[in-house]
């Protein structure tokens, strides 16, 4: 299984994120805290086969968003994003 195959579009996070946000976040614009580029969340790279879900900037790979389900709790970090437009 090659590494390129493991990443999917940010769209793949939409289901999990739909339990947090009432808007459709895949069209939300996200500003990368690393390179500053602004992209639709659906265009960035998601890694969903991991202990948590990770969204990375499609330009510089900086981690934009992490979602971890710990039993009944859901923790989300947007620390790597400068901002997100909802």
């Amino acid at each position: 299984m090659d590494d390129v195959a493991l990443r999917v579009d940010g769209n793949a996070l939409a289901g999990e994120l739909s339990e947090v946000f009432s808007q459709d976040v895949t069209v939300a614009r996200v500003a990368c805290g690393g390179c500053g580029t602004v992209e639709r969340l659906g265009a960035d790279h998601a890694y969903i086969q991991a202990p948590g879900m990770v969204l990375r900037c499609c330009h510089c790979d900086n981690v934009l968003l992490v979602m971890v389900r710990a039993g009944d709790r859901l923790r989300m970090s947007l620390a790597g994003s400068r901002w997100i437009d909802l």
């Binding site: 195959a5 999917v8 769209n11 808007q23």
Partner: protein
Amino acid sequence: MARAAVRGRLSWTLGDVVELIDETPRVRTIALDVPEWPGHRAGQHVDVRLTAEDGYQAQRSYSIASAPEDDRLAITVEALPDGEVSSYLVGELRVGDKLELRGPIGGYFVWEAERTEPLLLVAGGSGMVPLMSMIRHRHAAGATVPTKLLFSSRAWEDVIYREELERLALASDGFEVIQTLTRMPPDGWTGYTRRVDAAMLSDVGWSASAMPASFVCGPTPFVEAVASTLVLLGHAASTIKTERFGPTGG
């Protein structure tokens, strides 16, 4: 132009399996009656969740195959080797069963028939599913926007929606289907017989000056190769929407 997607938070709901259609030996369409289904946009997907008696759960995403105009919700699933969810959906699920699902999901990879720019759809294998929703929606809405579908499959027997695509292509409403098979084609085959490459996209696709909207769906390596080729051919990256399926759906 972004449409406000105000719908509240999604939650898991149950659909009744009302029909099963075997598209190919490994691919099945599941038609569902979902009470209070809010409707969807062509290109969106649903998350499906299976729970075993001991509480073990597995969850996967499947693109919606049906048009927003259709009465019933349909998903099309390819059984993958060692796929614990796909093998259940294609091999075990029966009419009368219930399926737990959440959706519709995803406003990024959607197409509406009101759009006026030429449309390029590029599908690799089961990547055809969300694009079929777009094609069915286009037909149901009576749209005539010039549309080209480039569809790569392994063999003739693996071409999903084959007969329906042939029928739709005969409708003379500006819809054209170009196919390529990557394994031995049948006698009399007039389509391409190789993997999608730059020469094929250049011959088949719209010119960059036509400023088409492009949707590419399939396994990740396929999608990335096609999308980057379209950019090299002069298409603006912002006009190319991708849906990567990852290595497998399971």
